[in-house]
């Protein structure tokens, strides 16, 4: 990218720290390639803005700042490798070579150093967004699998929808079961208080014989819950669905109060 007039304006906006978006990327890429015209423009703008500061009346800063700085410097590591022994000729050459490398690295790193802090922050924000997206996606996949399953069920002419009404302690509760005697089904519950601690809601299928346990159904604080129901092995047909409040680990036979039942 060779220098053209459009970069003059970008250099000016960059000098006052206001370049953003695409323009900044474009200009920094241009600078990175080493444009003498823009480097001169930036240097001159820097001097102009510094002169602006010089026009203002000076103000004596609070004395504690200098004291704090001098203390901080004294406390920071004793002048480490800075006070070096007199270098040999070879070491001097190595040093000079290193200095060349440092200077060119500085030139290349000039732009990145200036925005390092901001880039770091953006990286952290991006990571947070990625994590949120990952969680959202996992939960969406779960929901999608559920919906797909239910749609498959509904396509089957042998499937039926059974309504369950609230009973005794939960008259406002309601539920629907999408059911297929061969493949099982799903229950969707509404308006039911979550089970008290130490308790759980257990679903029952009732065919010819005694009620069979059909799994525990977790109810969210919103009063809703859904659960896959496995088909009843070897059974003819389920005639009634019912839900009771049982101990948290479930029970082989219904013992607690009935909260939902189909007709």
């Amino acid at each position: 990218m060779t220098h053209d007039e459009s970069f003059d304006a970008l250099a000016a906006v960059y000098a006052v720290g206001a370049l953003d978006g695409e323009d900044r990327l474009r200009f920094e890429a241009h600078l990175g390639e080493g444009c003498a015209t823009c480097e001169t423009a930036l240097r001159e703008s820097g001097e102009t803005l510094a002169a602006l500061a010089r026009e203002a009346p000076r103000a004596i800063p609070p004395a504690h700042v200098k004291e704090a700085l001098l203390r901080r410097i004294a406390e920071s590591t004793a002048p480490t490798p800075r006070a070096r022994p007199a270098p040999s000729r070879l070491r001097w050459l190595a040093g000079a070579a290193a200095a060349v490398i440092v200077v060119s690295a500085l030139t290349a790193g000039y732009v990145s150093a200036r925005y390092e802090a901001r880039l770091g922050q953006m990286a952290r924000e991006a990571a947070a967004v990625r994590e949120r997206l990952r969680q959202d996606q996992a939960s969406l996949n779960e929901q999608l699998a559920l919906y797909r399953d239910v749609v498959d069920l509904l396509r089957d002419p042998a499937s039926r929808i059974v309504s369950l009404q609230g009973q005794g302690p939960a008259p406002q509760a309601a539920a629907r079961v999408v059911w297929n005697d061969r493949t099982g089904g799903h229950i969707f519950v509404n308006n039911l208080e979550p089970a008290p601690s130490g308790k759980a809601y257990e679903l029952w299928t009732i065919g010819e014989g005694a009620p069979r346990p059909a799994g525990l159904v977790a109810i969210q604080p919103s009063g809703t819950g859904s659960q896959r129901i496995a088909p009843v092995p070897g059974s003819t047909s389920v005639k009634v669905f019912a839900m009771t409040l049982e101990p948290a680990e479930g029970s082989p036979d219904p013992t607690g109060p009935m909260v939902l039942a189909s007709k």
Partner: protein, 189 residues
């Protein structure tokens, strides 16, 4: 007297006394700038300390080809002051300060009668005040207010291209208006 560039070289070699001289030479120059941007004295003192601490730590990275020591430290002071204003803004959980608030901060008309405000006016009445209003406004919003070109365009309801052109023309005019006092020039060579 050592030049500022020499002082920075000595700082890079770990010379604390050179740092003390460097501080004395520039603290009173950058402090008003920082105060103007961050407003609160306590914040300004913090930023000032941060800025000079960085000069101590990065003295070996100073490159005279990029600019004078004065431009080096003024640019750093302005950047750190704007960083501070933005972080305060973030802490208040409003990511962008309402634009009219920023505008008010940098508009001389809003200044009161305190000595501090008079200092602000001193700046305005210098080279900046001799710019056409439209150019002065965009440079102040950017340089002292920390607004990006897009935010400025929103704020003054002008196309982005106009903002860029005004900044460029304004800076060019400033450059011709400002003449370096010869008495100080020797420090920076």
């Amino acid at each position: 007297m050592a030049t500022s560039a020499e002082l920075i070289r000595s700082m890079a070699a770990g010379d604390r006394e050179a740092f003390a001289h460097f501080y004395d030479r520039y603290a009173s120059l950058v402090y008003p700038l920082i105060l103007r941007i961050v407003r609160e004295r306590a914040d300004a003192a913090d930023v000032l300390q941060e800025v000079f601490w960085e000069t101590w730590q990065t003295a070996d990275a100073y490159d005279a080809a990029r600019g004078t020591p004065e431009a080096w430290i003024v640019m750093r002071a302005r950047t750190r002051a704007i960083d501070r204003v933005r972080s305060i803004r973030r802490k208040r959980e409003t990511f962008v300060m309402p634009l009219d608030e920023v505008t008010a901060r940098v508009t001389p008309d809003s200044a009161g009668d305190s000595a501090e405000r008079a200092e602000d006016r001193g700046v305005i009445l210098g080279a900046l005040a001799r710019l056409p209003e439209a150019q002065r406004e965009v440079i102040e919003l950017a340089y002292y207010g920390g607004l990006s070109q897009t935010e400025i365009a929103d704020s003054i309801k002008q196309p982005l291209g106009t903002v860029k052109t005004r900044i460029r023309s304004g800076l060019e005019r400033l450059r011709t208006l400002i003449k370096r006092p010869t008495g100080l020039a020797g420090w920076d060579r």
